[in-house]
């Protein structure tokens, strides 16, 4: 590749730069068009993060999984299962009435085990991730309903306490959901970049047979990413339970697809091996911004959110295809 000038930006950075550009453009559009309604206010920005917290946290696992060239369709159902389990276990009427400090770790362990089981099926039986996690989706959703068939409102002091946690920032408070979101993205970015596990995810996503010959323990990494996917889905479920104050077996339908959309808009290639954790967070914010703009328009129906998200997703898939073709031609 010969350029008239020296660029220190590699090919792998192009999708994430496109994501950043889209985020800035969408934000600028909203700020200019709806400037009179304080679009760019701190309050709005905090609520943007808050609105994206559940999907954002779940998308951490999805990012690792997609980087490893897999897919996870069970996310939404696992979130629903988690909220239901928590609601039942803390309820003295429906369940044992345990303290959330006990129940939340149990929920996280269940989610992780669920993901681990999916990972084991995918690795040991060489089953396609799409089918395994599709089965996982039905299983988790069914389990959620069998735990309790209706929404359960949670009345527990500890939950009220967690709902009121907030770090003051300007005139608004940063709620627990946003704190958890940011802390876990920081950890995930760190893991993806500075640990052997993180780099091995990229390695097997880039080329699995080569990774094996390079001495990467494929099984450990693969099962690891799905376990992580289960863990972050469960964590997203915990945050959703706190935020909404209920357990809801019938909610969170399609969250796995929103998470995948955020990952792809965030510049991670569905073909695996290329992408950045931070991109997914940007993707979540972009989807949130679009929703915010359309809400502010007032006259547009909320389906326009989906239409814009669809168009954007399409654009990113095209960009990825073009990049892959370019790589093939020059490589």
């Amino acid at each position: 590749m010969k350029l008239p000038f020296r660029l220190s930006i590699g090919r792998q950075h192009i999708p994430i730069l496109a994501t950043l550009a889209v985020l800035i453009l969408v934000f600028a559009f909203g700020a200019i068009r709806h400037g009179d309604r304080n679009f760019a206010s701190l309050y709005n920005i905090v609520s943007l993060f808050r609105g994206g917290a559940v999907i954002g946290i779940a998308a951490i696992g999805s990012t690792f999984i997609i980087l490893s060239k897999g897919i996870d369709l069970s996310v939404g159902a696992v979130i629903a299962l988690t909220t239901t389990i928590i609601a039942v276990l803390v309820s003295p009427q429906l369940g044992p009435g345990w303290h959330p400090a006990v129940v939340i770790p149990i929920a996280l362990v269940i989610g992780t085990l669920f993901g681990t089981a999916q990972g084991c099926l995918i690795h040991f039986f060489e089953l396609p991730p799409f089918l395994v996690t599709l089965a996982g989706m039905f299983l988790a959703r069914g389990l959620a309903f069998s735990v309790h068939p209706q929404n359960i409102a949670i009345e527990h002091d500890a939950f009220h306490a967690m709902q009121s946690i907030g770090i003051p920032l300007g005139r608004s408070d940063v709620p627990l959901a946003v704190i958890v979101l940011l802390v876990f993205y920081a950890i995930a970015m760190f893991v993806s970049r500075y640990t052997n596990f993180g780099r091995e995810v990229y390695t097997i996503g880039g080329d699995e047979p080569s990774a094996r010959l390079m001495g990467v323990n494929i099984g450990r990494v693969k099962i690891g990413v799905y376990a992580l996917g289960g863990l972050t889905a469960a964590l997203a479920g915990v945050i959703a339970t706190i935020d909404r104050g209920d357990g809801s077996p019938s909610e969170f339908v399609g969250y796995e697809l929103d998470a995948i959309a955020a990952v792809v808009i965030g510049g991670t290639l569905l073909t695996g091996g290329v992408g950045f954790m931070i991109g997914t967070l940007l993707g979540v914010l972009i989807l949130g911004l679009i929703r915010l703009i359309i809400d502010n328009e007032g006259t547009l129906s909320s389906w326009w959110t989906n239409i814009s998200a669809g168009a954007l997703l399409f654009g990113f898939i095209l960009l990825q295809t073009v990049l892959v073709r370019l790589a093939k031609r020059s490589g």
């Binding site: 792998q12 780099r199 880039g206």
Partner: protein
């Protein structure tokens, strides 16, 4: 050499056997490697070379015999295990991850860490040091697939050496490199040998074997045939050992092929390529193709050989010139149009562009004919079977029957199926792009022979091969290309590998300043600080 041979050998393989259900892949094989030597492992496809390598590198366990390495018996259980013992391998296809950075490709599995965390600075320095050993300077933060295949291959070697290897196994490392890149690689092997490394070199290229190897071990049908000093083993004797035939018989056959090809074609001109060219692909080329003539396209990898063929067959549409057939000018815009003109082509990468591995031999053979006739005029099952049987017999395709999936055949036989597919449509002009790449000596000979037979029957052929010697042997006319430009033409008696090379070299001199051949990418200071990720 003379000094090191007094030391005990580095690797002693004695009586090693390996069976798979129904096949004895290795039978009592022996192999002896000394420090500081390049040792060629030769044999036809299926001779057991790959199996032996996989046993040495711990991919397969061996059933019997002993492997002694560096003074102690070993039986590696995994590639990792073999690496730890000091046996590193670079495979035919570059086994690195194209989407990772160069530095990561060198460090995955052995990142320098502190407290479990990767130290990127140290990793980059380590990568640069490893690359220095193979004489490369790259921006290690760049994604690997931004570099050419040749450089990727050298990075793979750098990675293998980084594991403190005592024995480096190179499995067909040159099959995707062009000549100047091969030179680089052989130079590197030479300097590594001087450093005391033992290199086991597996290749199909005879020329390279004789240029670099000290010793040659030949396997045939899974069994050890002979070990010889390279300088004491004439080429024909080596081939004789490999195919298990008398060198005299081989010599006679080669002479026969040469004689067949040198026979002057009697017919007139079939086609005239008139300045066919395409911006960004190849500059306008022009040559004549006589009836029953074989025209070779000679040149290094990337010289525009394949591009020229693609223009003639309409895969890429030319933006200049024309293809004149029967006195009428055409500019094929698709393979379909070219097929209508009576042109056929086998692509250079049969795995990607040609063979459909899961379909049977019969289906693969019938494919082109069926597509020419259109889907409404189905070829009857009986006609299909007859067609398949005819070509299996006439091309000597080794398959258990016509319904075997093509993917299970050896490379040479897959190539023959591909040839049969196009022969079935009875083309007037047949373009063969690298028909002999990656297939063994025996099959190569058969394909060369087939080319001669076809020309004899009056078919015109365009023949492309990386092995210029082969091009020289089969062609009555050679169009020489260099840097995507036609630089000359040779005819009849004037054709030789030497003459082609000379023509390419002269073209290279003319544009001494040009960006030809292999050059390391300079590493600027600003790139040293470059980061290769987020974080």
């Amino acid at each position: 050499m003379s000094e090191s041979s007094t030391h005990p050998p580095l690797l002693l393989v004695r009586g090693v056997s390996k069976s798979f259900p129904g096949v004895r892949a290795l039978d009592n094989v022996e192999l002896t490697l000394r420090r500081g030597e390049v040792h060629a492992l030769m044999g036809e496809n299926g001779a057991g070379k790959s199996t032996l390598i996989k046993v040495l590198t711990g991919v397969y366990p061996h059933d019997g015999g002993t492997i002694e390495f560096d003074g102690r018996a070993i039986s590696p259980a995994s590639p990792r295990d073999a690496e730890r013992a000091g046996i590193s391998t670079v495979y035919q296809e570059v086994n690195l991850v194209p989407t990772l950075s160069v530095a990561e490709n060198l460090c995955v599995g052995r990142f320098p860490t502190r407290g479990g965390l990767i130290r990127w600075g140290a990793a980059r320095r380590r990568a640069e040091t490893a690359l220095e050993r193979v004489g490369l300077k790259l921006r290690v933060g760049r994604q690997l697939d931004e570099y050419s295949l040749a450089i990727q291959q050298m990075v793979a070697i750098a990675r293998a050496l980084d594991a403190e290897a005592k024995l480096l196994i190179l499995d067909e490392p040159t099959s995707s490199l062009d000549e100047s890149e091969v030179d680089r690689l052989l130079e590197l092997m030479d300097s590594l040998r001087s450093g005391g490394l033992a290199i086991l070199f597996v290749t199909h290229f005879m020329g390279q074997v004789y240029r670099i190897s000290d010793r040659i071990t030949v396997l045939r049908n899974g069994a050890f045939v002979a070990e010889s000093m390279a300088k004491d083993l004439p080429r024909f004797d080596l081939i004789g050992q490999m195919v298990g035939k008398d060198p005299e018989a081989l010599r006679a056959r080669e002479a026969e092929v040469r004689a067949l090809h040198q026979k002057k074609a009697g017919g007139g001109t079939l086609a005239r390529v008139n300045g066919l060219g395409k911006q960004g692909s190849v500059a306008p080329v022009g040559f004549e193709i006589g009836e029953g003539q074989t025209v070779g396209l000679g040149g290094l990898l990337g010289s525009g050989r394949t591009e020229t063929a693609r223009l003639i067959f309409g895969i890429d549409k030319a933006d200049a010139g024309s293809l004149e057939i029967d006195g009428k000018a055409h500019r094929p815009g698709s393979p379909r149009e070219a097929m209508a003109l009576g042109i056929a082509m086998t692509p250079d990468d049969r795995k990607v562009n040609g063979i459909i591995p899961n379909l049977s031999v019969r289906d693969n053979i019938v494919l082109a004919l069926q597509s020419k006739r259109g889907i409404w005029r189905r070829i009857s099952p009986k006609a299909q079977r007859d067609l398949a049987a005819k070509y299996i017999a006439s091309l000597n395709i080794k398959t258990s029957n016509a319904e075997t999936p093509v993917g299970t055949l050896s490379g040479g036989n897959q190539q023959k199926v591909l040839l049969a597919r196009w022969l079935a449509v009875n083309p007037r002009l047949f373009i063969l792009d690298e028909p002999t790449r990656g297939i063994d000596v025996g099959a190569k000979g058969e394909i060369e022979h087939l080319v001669a037979d076809l020309a004899e029957q009056g078919m015109s052929l365009v023949f492309i091969s990386s092995e210029l010697e082969e091009v020289a042997r089969v062609s009555q006319r050679v169009v020489v290309l260099c840097d995507r430009e036609q630089v000359g033409e040779l005819e009849g008696e004037a054709i030789s590998e030497h003459a082609i090379l000379e023509m390419i070299a002269r073209a290279g001199e003319k544009e001494e300043e040009g960006e030809t051949g292999w050059k390391p990418v300079p590493l600027g200071d600003e790139e040293r600080n470059e980061r290769d990720g987020d974080g």
